[in-house]
Amino acid sequence: MEQKPIKKVLIANRGEIAVRIMRTCREMGIKTVAIFSDADRLSMHVKYADEAYNIGAAPSSESYLNMDKVLATAKKSGADAIHPGYGFLSENATFSRRCRESGITFIGPSPESIETMGDKISARKKMISAGVPVVPGTTDKVTNEAEAIRQIKEIGLPVMIKASAGGGGRGMRLVHKDSEVTHLLRAARSEAKTAFGDDAVYIEKYVDSPHHVEFQVLSDRHGNTVHLFERECSVQRRHQKVVEETPSPLLTPEVRAKMGACAVAAANACNYEGAGTIEFIMDDQLNFYFLEMNTRLQVEHPITELVVGVDLVKEQIRIAEGKALTIKQDELTQNGHAIECRIIAEDTDNNFMPNPGTITHITEPLGLGVRCDGYVYEGYTIPIHYDSLISKLIVWGPTREEAIERMSRALAEYKIVGVKTTIRFLERIMENTDFRSGKYNTHFIEKNLAFLLADNQENANEEDIALIATFAEYLFRLEDSKKTTVASTGKKETNWKRQLRKFTSRI
């Protein structure tokens, strides 16, 4: 089959993932092209790239999501490939197709694979025929009560009844007990009828205390697929992953092998090419069901890289060039343990409100076993338009316990001033007994919220020391203000000076 070496890649993304992709390109001797919106002229990915082009206004729809502009920029710059990162156009079948039609290599799967796995119904049917377990439930909608009750019996309680036409929780009922079946089924159908004018329902097995476990796969166009083991992603808040780790503290070698085989089968079922992730939902008894496939690089891919020793972006590029995988399944092993914490600009004390703003100081953690994939720098203003992920802190350790200790150490070293972040919240997760014991599911944050939001107060002296520091701050500012008189002020005046002046003018 044809091989087409990639010499210049346009990265159709921004933030940490754009920088992360460029790092690998630079190491491979591949030139990089950044695109940026009006809000991103000073973003790290613009400075990191070999070339950079403005492609429109701040809102994503006018820039990073604008296929015409992205493709035109690729042409203009002579890029022979586009890496979409995650988010934005990464799972857009049309974009993958348009790249192909323009003669530009899309570093990702074919439009057909994206379409198959992007539609939940078609993906579910594919998986069933490939022998991959899916959450037990009705394949088509159910329109009569007797049939519904029969299906519920077959699936087994607990089940979730969902309005076929539904959404937003209406027409949904969770059934735990036999005695509730008829009553709740009627309630659901009646609510569905009122809300959507249609009382057809779906019935699905309800997975109690669910775990989110996903498998990384790599497939080339020569028919080779390998899996690179699992990532445990059950630490979530509002369906957003917060902490990920590998290996999962839950899996046994037998279940791991079975899931890995399923992941490979899933990728093969849609003729997958590139790096992809099969997400599974798992109950406490380690029964697992296919949830969905992400046909792109994941945010949390670095933990796999550290434990398996493979640069996934490099593999993506090699696969897109048409090369065959050099990795063999039976040569892959999980070496040690890795954890990722997502550092997000949000105010955990104020309902996790996003907190964009200017970074006035940043100290990243360093040392043995610590990897930090970020993109903000001192003086950088995080725009309001995009994701609130500032960076990903990833650690490796020979054992899970050592990885947790290392993560605690690294989080303690991580200092960001200017915007509020999740750093302290993540420190509390590392201190939490449920997390440390490895016994947690997707309800973890909800269940432990009070603990996670609380401070770890040591003693009364500390309060006094905090008071003394504040006293000193006030004292030093006062002294400085007496020494300095600013006659007039210009644009160049530093923030510090301006604050000082505002401050002292109030004294």
Binding site: P354, D455, L467, A469, F471, A472, E473
Partner: protein, 175 residues
């Protein structure tokens, strides 16, 4: 120098006793501390107290003379209570504060929806404005019943941190 500092419900008096280079002796209420204290950079203090090495971050918050103070495992909000603050406190105790009916942006963002205009009667809990930042939308509601006096922003506007978005007149007018 002597300073009154408020930390949660505690009002503490911090008094300078002696200062020699980095060595500062102060009393905090009745307890005397001798610390080696250095300002490393704008926001960062290094303190040695009885041998312990303590790093403290002191950042002024949006509110004047309020400081967000952090050590390695705890956070404090500390307010400097000087004459101006006392005056403000007294005024606030005298009547309902105007601040209750002022909606300010808690973060930079974009105004995506404005539900009210000047002159509108609003009830407590009624949605006034929706702000979007970093792909998340937040709705802001009226704190109490009143009449909308001012809406200095419009849909599509970008607002800064702590920017005034809606003013509602309650029983008394702003002075």
């Amino acid at each position: 120098m002597e300073l009154e500092l408020k930390l949660n419900k505690r009002n503490a008096i911090v008094k300078e006793i002696k200062r020699e280079g980095n060595l500062l002796t102060v009393s905090v209420d009745d307890v005397i501390y001798e610390v080696d204290i250095v300002k490393v950079r704008n926001h960062e203090f290094s303190i040695l107290y009885k041998g312990k090495s303590i790093n403290i971050e002191v950042v002024e918050s949006k509110e004047p003379k309020h400081f967000n103070v952090k050590n390695s495992h705890a956070r404090y909000e500390i307010e400097v209570i000087d004459n101006e603050a006392r005056y403000r406190q007294n005024r606030m105790q005298a009547g309902p504060t105007q601040g209750d009916n002022t909606i300010r942006s808690p973060m930079p963002g974009k105004v995506v929806k404005v539900y009210v205009k000047p002159g509108d009667h609003v009830e407590a809990g009624q949605p006034l404005i929706v702000l979007s930042a970093m792909k998340m939308e937040s709705e802001f509601k009226a704190g109490s019943k009143g009449i909308v006096r001012e809406v200095p922003v419009k849909e599509g506007d970008t607002v800064d941190n702590n920017q005034l978005m809606v003013v509602i007149d309650g029983e008394e007018l702003e002075s």
